[in-house]
């Protein structure tokens, strides 16, 4: 052994004497006169692709035989691996060798191992199953005393490692952070970085060690740790603010040239390190003045130092400028950064120009004047021969678009669009054009024409939202109805013209848009009759190049137009043609049309003109069939069982043990749908999501929010504006135009000056149209672009904002009226009631979202409702449910009486939830109000009789008429002999539901006598809903599982949620709040809820959120209850 050592040591000097430049290639080239060389030479000698394929296939089969032969030594195996890698690089499948690569890494000596690891890293990917076989080898090598082996193991771990095996190597790698060799420490840090990327939770506990790595005496290790910090700060910048000082110090040292010369790159100190630090500072300083202040100095120095004319300094400058504009602004720095951008933009080097444009797109929203300064350059770039430059320029223009320059910019974009062929670019650009057109369209004709261009070019690749939004915009319209009609009319006209053109093929999506618009809005046009339109559609239908989906749209359009048409020859022909169509979908449509056509009246009522926005009420529970079902059942028919239940039963008959409590689900619920709702774990799912969100975060530049930080009082260059928007003259600071023109002109050859200047004039003209509205006068507008500019076509859906505004007012008003409670007039009262109701809703929403934070409360009774309902005394002043028949209250309300009554009932209310007091009837002498108390075992109706007159009332008697579905029990004391003046009495009834139903009315009358005069009788009624009788059912998950299986009646339905609820917690909240369901358990995206219908009919709900669709599944022992509950659910989910 010592022999070997000695030999090595004597050989060393000789080895070191060889410079790598001379020794490396000699050593590397020599052994490769071998078989790889032969293969490569063989390939290059070939002339055709076909021959190459033959040769490689031959080679691969040789290799296949070689690697699996037992006689193959590891050394030969190494050689084979290299050839396999080569074959695979040429695009041939060498998967048979993967396992041998792993074996080589496991068994070989150092060199073979090295090739083995390389082959593994090239062949396999992170989730490849064979990778698991490598874990043991890695663990072994990490523990090796040989540094080279440790290095190799760390290298492979940092490249690919199965996520689930991280725990196996994590402690070993943590140990390596303390290793004496810097290369090992560095690789260990990078391995941990990799782990942080694929499984952040698993390395959370070693954050302290990362700090140690940051302070490492070796620059390489420190630089490696910055990757982790960059990542972590990106995810949560607030957690690392305390490190700002350290990063600034490091950057200062780097910029000041304190690092070893080794790290210089073309005499620039450690550019990679600088850039990484600048990125980190950017994240830390964003929206944070105090942190930003720490870094002003070093940024200033970086800007100052980076003056060498080399690419790498520009790289640093670019990063620096980006950081200066992202952190809390400082005007001096911004000025300097703006100058730097100028250097980029004006540079003759095309790469720098590109980056200049990119930098401008970053900063343009903060500082639009920069675009003005460089407008001539931008115009030049717009016609640049390199499409990439053009593209970036358009991106820049896209960001400075406003109502004044939209037409020019969109025209430029469309020009580019017509030239480009790459799908991604088309999709992207088409989306932008559509967005701009919707926002700033100057008029209808322009809008429709632009959208036509979008549809015909974007065609079938564009995002489906574009046609959908367009159609919605047409349908919902905006504020001005005549404007709406004109837009629609214009669309119809333009489409009819387009369809008249012969031999033009439009994309399917475009045709679909056309057919919808023509179907809905052809009635607006006088020139052409519905028959003519139908004829055109029919022609399209007969066209073979049109997809059957589009044909379905066309038939739908024809169907809509048929009731408007006088004669129906073509329709009949169409019916004839398509009722025999091979496409079932089309056949179905044709049959529908046929049957509707036979019943003209039904058709007209079903397809009204211009009613596309009105919702049709669909009774999803099919309650209109109830009587029929009841009849059938009474005649002995078997009760209906849904498909999945039948299957379940069939299964349970076949098997003795049924391990699948839910049976096979017939819906799209897929994997999870098959499991019992009582025990689903979605662990892997969750971590998968987190990875995905992580990805999302990295994929876009966060430019939002910059504006906010950068208010109106921020940095504005001192250019004065002399422009007024009312004149057509270009509102650009004159000086800058002249300056730029001068610059460009002086560059030109004087002999060409005349023609050039003509060109220049054109360019100027273009400039003036492009940069209109960007002057510093309108800067302020632009700064607030995101929120203040009113969209030309604003959708109606924005009621919510205005509502919250109103409620604020309402809030104030109610307040003020409380302080002066006299003489509230009727109108005010009514108005206030309305507003108050709304405010309550808002309040509900508000507290609701606040409560979401506290997930524990999910299982409790809806506290929020309690809170919002328990408003003591004051609200009763205006208590009147405007949904009921509204009785205008007298100017002097019996407020006093009500207050007293409420006080007396306070004990009740604190204990149970109750509704608002609402007046059900009144007259001069008395008023009757009622409210509901949702007790645990019943619904308690309380009627309050308040005597408003100064006289005594005698024999006050309240009677409730017996109702079909209710069991009503009278509480004692329902006939009062005498009600004193200005006093309140109450009557209480317990109400229980006997049979489930959606809504019922409880009516009754009250009679009394005033001091020996005749008796007076007042009638009243109160609405009761199913929900009044639903109570949460407190059960455990296990009980839920048992109950679930024991119930036979079930209903399953998909409900689409409104946007605000498209998440599990909010959907859950809504259900819990509005329906009084008990949340049994939440498992991933599924929830279990339980409730009971008083007195004791349980109903279970299993629901799952799937995108914005809620899959509801009810089961109960009562056959009708699930239907009714479903109906309520739908109302709640869709209504709010």
């Amino acid at each position: 052994m010592s022999d070997i050592v000695e030999k090595t040591l004597t050989a060393l000097p000789g080895l070191f004497l060889q410079t790598p430049g001379a020794g490396g290639p000699a050593a590397a080239r020599a052994p490769f006169s071998s078989r790889l060389g032969g293969l490569i030479r063989g390939i290059t000698a070939l002339t055709s692709k076909h021959e190459e394929e033959k040769l490689i296939q031959q080679e691969l089969s040789n290799l296949k035989a070689a690697v699996s032969a037992p006689t193959t030594t590891l050394k030969m195996m190494k050689e084979c691996m290299v050839r396999l890698i080569y074959c695979e690089m040429l695009g041939y499948d060498a998967s048979f060798g993967y396992i041998h690569a792993i074996k080589l890494a496991q068994q070989g000596n150092l060199l073979e191992k090295r090739v083995g690891y390389l082959a593994v890293s090239l062949f396999l990917h992170e989730s490849h199953e064979l990778l698991l076989l490598l874990v043991n080898t890695v663990v072994k090598d990490l523990q090796s005393t040989n540094l080279v082996e440790v290095c190799m193991a760390l290298t492979i771990v940092s490249q690919i490692f199965p996520q689930e095996m991280i725990p196996a190597v994590l402690p070993l790698i943590e140990d390596k952070l303390q290793h004496s060799k810097e290369i090992i420490r560095r690789k260990a840090v990078l391995a941990l970085y990799k782990f942080h990327l694929i499984a952040p939770n698993q390395v959370q506990h070693i954050h302290v060690k990362f700090r140690k790595a940051l302070c490492d005496r070796d620059v390489g290790v420190m630089a490696a740790s910055l990757h982790i910090y960059h990542r972590m700060i990106k995810e949560n910048s607030s957690g690392y603010k305390d490190l700002t000082g350290s990063f600034v110090t490091i950057l200062k040292q780097v910029v000041g040239g304190k690092l070893p010369v080794d790290f210089n790159y073309h005499s620039v100190p450690a550019p990679w390190l600088q850039i990484q630090l600048l990125r980190i500072l950017r994240l830390l300083g964003k929206d944070d003045q105090r942190t930003s202040e720490l870094m002003y100095d070093v940024l200033d120095e970086s800007l100052r130092r980076a003056e060498l004319n080399h690419n790498v300094t520009y790289a640093i400058l670019f990063e620096c400028v980006h950081t200066v504009y992202s952190i809390y602004p400082k005007s001096e720095l911004l000025e300097k950064a703006a100058k730097c951008i100028g250097k980029f933009v004006l540079s003759p080097k095309i790469n720098l120009k590109y980056l200049g444009l990119k930098a401008l797109t970053y900063v343009i929203q903060q500082d639009p004047t920069l675009a003005l300064q460089h407008q001539m350059t931008i115009i030049e770039c717009l016609d640049h021969p390199d499409p990439i430059i053009k593209r970036e320029t358009l991106e820049l223009l896209y960001r400075i678009t406003n109502a004044q320059n939209i037409t020019v910019i969109v025209q430029k974009m469309l020009e580019y669009l017509h030239q480009s062929k790459e799908e991604y670019i088309i999709v992207n650009l088409v989306g932008k054009i559509a967005e701009l057109a919707e926002k700033y369209a100057p008029d209808n004709a322009w809008f429709i024409q632009t959208m036509n261009a979008v549809f015909s070019v974007g065609g079938d690749v564009m995002h489906p939202d574009i046609p959908n939004n367009f159609l919605r915009l047409l349908a919902e319209g905006f504020d001005d109805e005549t404007e709406n009609q004109q837009l629609r009319l214009y669309a119809v006209q333009s489409y009819l013209t387009l369809l008249d053109v012969e031999n033009v093929f439009y994309p399917q999506r475009f045709l679909q848009v056309m057919s919808w618009v023509l179907g809905e809005y052809s009635y607006l046009i006088d020139k052409e009759t519905p028959e003519e339109v139908i004829t055109k559609l029919y022609k399209l239908l007969m066209n073979d190049s049109i997809s059957s989906e589009t044909k379905a749209w066309l038939i739908a359009a024809v169907t809509k137009l048929t009731p408007q048409a006088q004669s129906s020859n073509i329709v009949e022909r169409l019916i004839q043609e398509f009722t025999v169509s091979l496409d079932t979908c089309l056949r179905q449509h044709a049959f529908e049309l046929k049957h509707l056509h036979e019943n003209a009246e039904l058709m007209k009522s079903l397809l009204p003109v211009n009613k596309s926005c009105e919702d049709m009420v669909v009774d999803a529970s099919l309650s209109f069939l109830d009587s029929h079902v009841a009849e059938e059942l009474s005649q002995g028919a078997a009760p209906y069982k849904p498909h999945h239940q039948r299957q379940e039963e069939k299964l349970s008959q076949e098997k003795v043990l049924n391990f699948e409590p839910y049976g096979l689900s017939s819906s799209s619920s897929g994997f999870t749908g098959r499991q019992s709702p009582a025990g689903i774990s979605l662990g892997s799912d969750i971590s998968g999501n987190s990875a995905e969100t992580g990805l999302k975060e990295t994929s876009s530049l966060k430019l939002e929010g910059i504006q906010k930080l950068w208010g109106k009082e921020g940095y504005l260059p001192k250019k004065e504006s002399k422009t007024g928007e009312e004149t057509e003259a270009p509102p650009i600071p004159q000086e800058s135009v002249i300056e730029n023109v001068d610059q460009t002109i002086t560059k030109k050859d004087p002999s060409q000056l005349l023609t050039q200047s003509k060109e220049e004039k054109e360019k100027q003209l273009l400039a003036s149209s492009l940069f209109v509205g960007l002057g510093s006068e309108s800067t302020v507008n632009l700064l607030g672009k995101a929120d203040t500019t009113s969209h030309k076509f604003r959708r109606k859906s924005k009621v919510k904002e205005t509502k919250s505004g109103e409620t604020a007012i309402a809030h104030n008003m109610t307040r003020s009226s409380f302080s002066s409670p006299t003489n509230v007039t009727y109108e005010e009262d009514y108005y206030l009631d309305n507003l108050r109701d709304r405010r309550d809703k808002e309040l509900n929403d508000f507290t609701l979202s606040a409560e979401l934070l506290d997930s524990e409360s999910l299982t409790d009774l809806p506290l929020v409702e309690k809170l919002s309902n328990c408003r003591p005394s004051t609200p009763s002043l205006f208590a009147d449910d405007n949904m009921e028949v509204f009785h205008p209250p007298q100017s002097t309300t019996a407020s006093l009486a009500n207050e007293i009554s409420l006080a007396s009932l306070l004990e009740e209310t604190t204990e149970h939830m109750h509704s608002d007091l609402m007046e059900v009837c009144n007259n001069d002498t008395m008023s009757l109000s009622s409210y509901k108390i949702w007790k645990d075992d019943c619904l308690l109706m309380v009627w309050l009789v308040s005597n408003k007159s100064g006289l005594e009332l005698e024999g006050v008697n309240l009677e409730i008429a017996p109702a079909e579905n209710f069991k009503i029990t009278e509480q004692p004391g329902c006939c009062l002999p005498i009600t004193e003046a200005e006093n309140t009495k109450n009557f209480q009834y317990r109400v229980q539901m006997e049979k489930p139903f959606t809504e019922g009315t409880l009516s009754g009358f009250i009679n009394y006598q005033v001091m020996n005069t005749h008796a007076v009788q007042l009638e009243f009624s109160v609405n009761l809903s199913l929900l009044d009788f639903i109570r949460p059912l407190n059960i455990s998950t296990e009980d839920f599982g048992k109950l679930w299986l024991s119930f036979a009646n079930d209903v399953k339905q998909n409900v689409k949620m409104s946007e605000s609820q498209a998440a599990l917690p909010s959907a859950l909240k809504t259900l819990q709040q509005k329906l009084r369901l008990h949340v049994v358990d939440i498992i991933g995206s599924e929830g279990l809820l339980a409730c009971q219908l008083l007195p004791s009919i349980p109903c279970l709900l299993h629901f799952r959120v799937h995108g914005d669709v809620l899959v509801l599944w009810f089961r109960s022992s009562c056959s009708t209850l699930p239907d009714y509950l479903l109906y309520q659910c739908q109302k709640v989910m869709e209504g709010s």
Partner: protein, 171 residues
């Protein structure tokens, strides 16, 4: 960085390193499309490309194109310098590198790349350090070949020697 490709003017792939998990089919598709696009560009055009949602940074050295894919917020210019630094490393190692060096010794090119970039991030920016790491491993090779170290030597003796070697090299 998402991936790095080296290909010749004829469109032959010379080296590929993927830092994001993709299927073979996707890799092939991306490679084909990119090689086509890059080769179609004229010499005066800029070194950056927008491709799908990625930025492609490429540079031509003699007959070889070096091509990196980065994300939109990454710095294009510094990526160009990464390419340049890699070329410098190859040059230093092979001694005025040419395409043939990379064709015939592509596994060496991979080893160098792995010491320079790890998992898509720059691992070591000091040229000296990168080459040192490579030389260590190469020295082992020569050491084994020159001295004829027996197969499967007792691990202790061998690793001892190697550690001595390493410490010599890293000094």
């Amino acid at each position: 960085m998402q991936f790095m490709l080296l290909f010749s003017r004829q469109g032959k792939l010379r080296l590929q390193k993927w830092y994001v998990p993709l299927s073979d089919k996707e890799k092939k598709k991306i490679t084909r499309e990119l090689v086509q696009t890059v080769l179609a560009r004229k010499p005066k055009m800029c070194s950056f490309l927008e491709w799908r949602d990625l930025k492609i940074v490429y540079k031509r050295y003699a007959s070889l194109y070096f091509c990196c894919a980065i994300e939109d917020q990454d710095n294009e210019l510094i990526t160009l310098e990464i390419i340049h630094r890699y070329v410098e490393l190859l040059d230093k190692y092979f001694g005025s590198v040419c395409e043939l060096d990379i064709i015939f010794n592509f596994e060496k090119a991979y080893f160098i790349l792995d010491e320079f970039l790890l998992g898509g991030e720059v691992q070591e920016t000091s040229k000296k350090n990168v080459l040192k790491a490579i030389e260590q491993a190469d020295l082992l090779q020569e050491f084994q070949e020159v001295l004829g170290v027996p197969r499967n030597p007792s691990p202790d003796s061998l690793s001892h020697v190697m550690n001595i070697l390493m410490s010599q090299c890293t000094k």
